[in-house]
Symmetry: C2
């Protein structure tokens, strides 16, 4: 058994199955093209709480519970939780998942956290460290604007290169292929490619797609080289939240490496909103963007066998308001996850 | 093979070896009781950079390089980096390790990150996902004060319950027990116990020991139950940064569960400074506290066989300035790592 492929990839001997996935989003996401696919659309942006941060914690908790409900599992049956969010010190997660009392690995991968959490959860299960683990991520438009940009009250104009942070959380329960609970699951995590920090010197925090596209290109290229595969081996290669401008840059960067993504490429940030009517400019972003699109749109297509193999590449921009104000560039990171139909 | 023990613990079949450990600290830590043990004491608190955040990034990078130098390894030989720090969005790590170009799993476990990173790195190696991986964490007094409390210029009085954030970074290179490079290594990670978020409702951010002690008690108790062991099975049980008041609370909480820690307990926060002469009040804290004490003081004792088995329990307080200002309590988390002499 050698599961190691090339510099940064693994192919699992016993690909963990995705038992259940849940997505809860806000009103704007509910109004978008995927609106009919989410598990719940919450019209109260505060989720019944007093602050934006508590709202995001509540969103994360409810999504975790929804995923457990879908596969009839209790907290005690889930051995590890791999979770994170965009806020400073990951407070949406820490306060959100407190009542679950599941051993936690707290993560920070910016908007790539969905990929990072699925990577680590699948590594743990394939290794036999757990029968069952949960990957969980969230973002909230208002808490993210407050964290990274202006308070909403400031009402600053948004340049056309900006993306709109998704209010949404995605929860994924993974189980060993050998566990009885996994017998009906039809999608597995077949392997992963772990991203490096990539910095092309972009300094415009209103242009995240440009900051993250080089990291996405790096991970996709590394993945194809490590695996000895081509774009044609995938039904789709789906990035997290590059948006429309980031997509153009990604395709150009891949073209320079001799790889044409063409119609195989989709981006969760472009799928989740209708930029033409929803005023979201370049697209959606945030940890919740890839997570909810995966749960509501990508996984069902894999479950039905419409797609056989997808490379999901959630992308993260590794800035903070401090690093931005100190004039630093915005490095990116992207984590690749191979999802396969397995019935 | 069943490596799973109880609710939250693993015992590895092939315990990964610690090939090399490095520690770099600031002047105050160099003046403390462990001063003669660190690899380097840097008297320039800015580490040659312009900002506190860049200083911490540089500290982390230099420490990573020091660890690689000690075991004669290059970046290309290290398959994964598990790293994190205390700053919002983990910027000390993202900018610090950029030039290494090692696939990264970014973590946030507050001051427990040293335990979290060693846990995940050892899980990856024991599973055969990597021959070699690095666990890396840092903290910096000035960047942490700026992040969590007052700007230093404010010169606020510090209550006696406060701890002093360690300026320091620790890097650990772990390798498979089967790799040739590991043949001379004499300390292994024998197992882990993964912590849950524990909240006793403490709201005083100047009293971190009280906020974290319940999490430490929870993890230590869980560990002993999972493993079927008692305190006497360990030469030491060493928490990360509870400080002197936190130690008292920990011993009381453990006593209520019928477990007497007595002399077996030490705390990195109490080891790293001389509270009597260094004006550090309850002790040291920060990701760098457990990491540098482990590298400079704990591992050498295990290497020499003075200690045969230590349970290291880095402790983290999961607050942010936003959660604090919004009146939230401060939950804690603690990750246990079993370190054994293995010659």
């Amino acid at each position: 058994m050698n599961e190691i492929k090339g510099r940064a990839s693994l192919i699992y001997e016993n690909p963990p199955r995705i038992l259940a996935a849940a997505s809860i989003v806000g009103k704007k996401e509910g109004d978008g093209p995927l609106g009919h696919l989410f598990d719940r659309i919450e019209t109260d942006p505060k989720f019944g709480k007093d602050t934006w941060e508590e709202a995001e914690s509540e969103l994360q908790l409810q999504t975790a519970k929804k995923a457990m409900e879908k596969c009839g599992m209790s907290e005690e049956q889930i051995r590890y939780l791999f979770a994170g969010d965009l806020l400073a010190q990951g407070i949406a997660t820490s306060y959100g998942i407190l009542e679950l009392q599941i051993p936690l690995f707290g993560l920070y991968g910016a908007c790539s956290t969905c990929g990072e959490s699925l990577s680590l959860a699948s590594m743990a299960i394939n290794a036999g460290y757990a029968d069952c683990a949960m990957a969980l991520t969230s973002s909230h438009f208002a808490s993210a604007e407050k964290e990274f940009r202006f308070p909403l009250e400031y009402a600053g104009q948004r340049p056309l290169s900006t993306t709109w942070t998704v209010t949404g959380a995605g929860a994924f329960i993974l189980a060993s292929s050998e566990s009885v609970t996994a017998k009906d699951a039809s999608v597995c995590v077949a392997g992963i490619t772990t991203g490096k920090v990539v910095d092309y010197g972009v300094k415009d925090s209103m242009h995240m797609g440009a900051a993250m596209a080089p990291a996405a290109a790096d991970t996709i290229y590394q993945h194809l080289m490590d695996m000895g595969r081509s774009v044609e081996d995938y039904d789709r290669i789906i990035t997290g939240d590059l948006g429309s401008i980031g997509q153009t840059i990604l395709k150009e960067l891949m073209g320079k490496k001799g790889i044409e993504l063409k119609e195989a490429h989709e981006d969760c940030g472009m799928l989740i909103y209708d930029a033409g009517t929803q005023d979201t400019h370049a697209g959606g972003s945030g940890c919740g963007c890839a997570a909810t699109t995966l749960a509501a749109y990508i996984l069902p297509k894999l479950e039905r066998g419409e797609w056989k193999r997808v490379l999901l590449v959630p992308t993260g921009a590794l800035l903070s308001k401090v690093s931005f104000n100190e004039g630093q560039s915005i490095p990116g990171i992207a984590h690749g996850v191979v999802l396969e139909h397995c019935k």
